[in-house]
């Protein structure tokens, strides 16, 4: 009763009260109009359904003709995947256009030779929907997981890798990648694409004009910074960590990269999963090393301004020549090209004004080459031979080379020929991945959100903005860790 009373009050107060009219005449007009609307709509949908169907027919017809022309040459390479003609394999993923089109293009030959149709199904809703689909019994054949943590939560539903896939991954990827595709001791998911964060951006022209050499160890990097600072024309480093609500993440990447360099992989894993306390002396050592660059006014100018310089504007100094080096992931190139008029060049292009490229953020010694980055993993939910064939094919050097040659993409596959990677920055990335003695995912993405997307960011910001001491920073993050 309460509800009704409230409604009456509300309506009366709004003065919207209109008496319901029971006049017959009005009724009949409404009714006839309804019928009209309904009829048109149904007619329209029928016509449209017809159109859609005929469209499909034309496309398939076109596709089949193409197949007829191109099958003859080169299908021998696909003999291993034979016997699945007519099968359809759905790949469910976060990757949508424009990248998706390149993936689809890279499958064309495989599809023609094997008769398997790959349905690329990309959606931004992947991370929420994959759980619903798996639980609901409509799991896709293959799913591309953008992060290992999500993959691990499906270890009950995924089909473990078969012998062929395991052999191919063992042959083509470093063990670290296999570990990330493993959950609860079972290897499930094959690596797909990769990205790399261990980059220092620089301008080959600035380096050549001043006669600087690319450093290959951490000590050489510091020595070079000293030289540049002593010459006094150019600021050695530009650092910027401002990123709106996510301010500080760029500084956490410094920490992670140096953690891999000054400690080993096990220590890094312990640090990320919380079994190594955040204020452990090992972590303190790493922060002190980071401070050698980030908190050195001779290198970076005004230390406090780092917190208010956006991570993208930080790289702008490299483009206009006001600073020599900037540590940031590969995606920065696109921003600098788009917003600051930079050109991506090869390290040997020393006469391009505004030309930028990258070198590997060096390890402690020349043979210490860890890499920080990320990647995707292909897990299989259905026990079908066709899906297994596609999953296997994606780990082969053949496919990785085809995909890389289409541009804008690379992977950690050891068989990937850098000649097929056109972009100079991606080329460096592939070299880094193939030479990496150690590979780890971005740790702050894996830490509990309260730290990885919380205090780790804010405390690193306070570290530069308020000149907070190393110890106070680490103690504060330690205190916030949800043990």
């Amino acid at each position: 009763m309460h509800l009704y009373d409230l409604d009456i009050l509300l309506m009366e107060a709004l003065g919207f009260y209109a008496r319901i009219n029971f006049e017959r005449t009005k009724m009949s007009t409404i009714r006839s109009r309804f019928v009209a609307i309904g009829a048109t709509a149904i007619a329209a949908s029928l016509v449209l359904a017809g159109c859609a169907a005929s469209d499909e027919e034309t496309t398939t017809a076109g596709g089949t003709t193409d197949t007829g022309d191109a099958t003859v040459a080169g299908c021998e390479a696909y003999a291993a995947y034979a016997g699945n003609e007519g099968a359809e394999v759905e790949i469910y993923t976060t990757i949508i256009d424009p990248e998706a089109s390149l993936f689809i293009e890279s499958f064309v030959e495989f599809e023609e030779c094997t008769g398997i149709t790959i349905n690329w199904n990309g959606t931004q809703e992947f991370e929420a929907q994959i759980a619903v689909r798996v639980e609901g019994g409509t799991a896709p054949d293959l799913a591309i997981f953008p992060q290992p943590g999500l993959l691990a939560s499906f270890s009950d539903s995924l089909v473990p890798a078969d012998a062929d896939l395991t052999a191919s991954v063992d042959a083509n990827y470093t063990p670290d990648w296999k570990t990330y595709g493993t959950a609860d001791g079972t290897f499930f998911a094959a690596p797909l694409g990769a990205n790399v964060k261990s980059f220092v951006w620089y301008s080959p022209k600035t380096f050549a004009d001043n006669g600087w050499d690319i450093p290959t160890t951490w000590d050489e990097l510091l020595a070079l910074s000293d030289t540049i600072a002593a010459e006094g024309n150019v600021q050695p480093w530009c650092v910027g960590i401002e990123s709106g609500g996510a301010t500080g993440w760029a500084a956490t990447d410094w920490m992670e990269d140096l953690m891999l360099r000054f400690q080993d992989g096990d220590t890094y894993d312990a640090w990320v999963d919380g079994s190594l306390p955040f204020n452990d002396p090992k972590v303190a050592e790493v922060l002190a090393e980071a401070g050698k660059i980030i908190k050195n006014p001779d290198y970076v100018g005004n230390v406090q301004a780092i917190a208010t310089t956006s991570f993208s504007a930080g790289g702008a100094g490299v483009v206009d020549g006001s600073c020599a080096m900037h540590r940031q992931a590969s995606f920065l190139g696109g921003i600098l090209v788009g917003d600051y008029g930079a050109t991506i060049v090869t390290p040997t292009d020393t006469d391009v004004e505004g030309g930028i490229t990258t070198f590997y953020f060096p390890g402690v010694s020349a043979d210490n080459k860890p890499a920080l980055g990320g990647g995707e993993f292909v897990g299989r939910f259905t026990d079908s031979a066709a899906a297994a064939a596609v999953q296997l094919y994606l780990t082969t050097p053949e496919w990785n080379n085809v995909k890389a040659s289409l541009g804008g993409w690379f992977s950690a596959n050891k068989g990937l020929d850098t000649a097929n990677v056109a972009d100079p920055v991606n080329k460096v990335a592939v070299e880094i991945l193939q030479n990496a003695t150690l590979f780890r995912f971005d740790g702050s993405d894996v830490m509990p959100a309260a730290v990885g997307a919380g205090t780790f960011w804010t405390e690193m910001t306070a570290w530069v903005a308020e000149d907070k001491s190393d110890k106070a920073v680490l103690d504060a993050i330690y205190a916030s860790w949800p043990y």
Binding site: Y4, D7, I8, M11, E12, A13, L14, G15, F16, Y17, A18, I20, N21, F22, R24, M27, I30, R31, R33, F34, I37, G38, A41, I42, A44, S45, L48, A49, C51, A52, D55, T59, G63, E90, Y92, T94, I95, I96, D97, P98, E99, A100, S101, I104, N119, W120, N121, G122, T123, Q124, E125, Q129, V132, R133, E135, G136, G137, T138, P140
Partner: protein, 308 residues
């Protein structure tokens, strides 16, 4: 008597308060503030991509630069794996029409029965249906999907077999119908139960059976309530992303327009200029429905409220 006199006075007072100039001004301000973002979206949708990325939509007025390229791109450009939006437009229609008609049809019958048939447990049943509105639909996604994909077995006994309807429109229709029914029955019941008893009794005396009563008296009289629920349900289904995405099982053949629009922005959100045009294309149909039926809308808001 006194109660109704008081209510008339209250009405008069309310009328005075809400027709004062200050109230009108406030109403106008609210209307403008609420419309500005949508208007900005509309302006953005007819600007060239370069302008959208470099300056705000309000600069359009000092530098008018009209282009329908966004609409062209959204509607007609696409590949076989990512068909252009107009194909999804038809998917949306095919999802929406049955998903509006089914629940309304079922709800009118149910509401009629609940309001005018005296049977045991009627109030409990009505209360149960009313209470179902409380269940968040997100809670039902997984069980419903399992039902559609695998059927229902308890032990070895098959209660509902695997119907093999995954990836068709049918699960989407059923899901929308299920989610709409509690509100529809509640709304229509309260409206239908308001039909004067004398009318029904007079018809009975004239020899009308339950079905004649329904088709000759109840149905014509409840058209305003039906129309208003039709608007509600149409808007809800047309704008729905979650149900279409989930029960379409990721199939592009049945995905409604909202699913495609959500993807158009691109993996890294670089294509947002096409979103503006996409949003307006998807808005067009609900606007037509709303304006065509708006005079029932206000009446419909009252449906079920006048139980005194």
């Amino acid at each position: 008597m006194t109660a109704s006199a008081a209510s008339v006075r209250a009405k008069g007072r309310a009328k005075n308060i809400f027709s004062s100039p200050i109230a009108s001004a406030a109403a106008w301000i609210i209307a403008v503030v609420w419309t500005v973002p949508t208007f900005g979206l509309l302006v953005s949708s007819i600007r060239p991509e370069k302008d959208i990325n470099s300056s705000g939509w309000w600069t359009f007025f000092s530098n008018p630069n009209i282009s329908f390229e966004n609409y062209q791109k959204v509607l007609f450009e696409g590949t076989t794996t990512n068909p252009p939006l107009f194909q999804f437009f038809f998917n949306s229609l095919a999802v929406t029409l049955p998903a509006v008609i089914f629940p309304i049809t079922l709800a009118v019958f149910a509401a009629y029965a609940l309001a005018w048939f005296d049977f045991r447990g009627r109030d409990t049943l009505f209360f149960g249906i009313f209470a179902l509105q409380v269940v968040p639909l997100q809670l039902t996604l997984v069980p419903l999907l399992q039902l559609f994909a695998k059927g229902l077995q308890i032990g070895d006994v098959t209660i509902i077999p695997d119907l093999g309807i995954t990836g068709t429109y049918i699960p989407i229709w059923i899901a929308h119908t299920i989610f709409a029914l509690p509100l529809a029955i509640f709304l229509l019941h309260n409206f239908i139960s308001q039909i004067p008893k004398e009318l029904i009794e007079a018809a009975r005396v004239d020899g009308a059976g339950p079905f004649t009563l329904f088709s000759k008296i109840v149905l014509p009289l409840s058209v305003p309530a039906i129309a208003s629920f039709l608007i509600f349900q149409f808007l809800w289904v047309w704008n729905d992303l979650l149900v279409g995405l989930t029960f379409g099982a990721g199939s592009k053949e049945v995905a409604p327009m909202t699913v495609r629009i959500a993807e158009m922005v691109g993996t890294r959100g670089s294509g947002w200029e096409v979103l503006t045009a996409g949003a307006f294309i998807s808005m067009a149909v609900p606007l037509i429905v709303f304006f065509a039926l708006q005079r029932y809308f206000v009446r419909g808001l009252l449906a079920g409220s006048v139980k005194g």
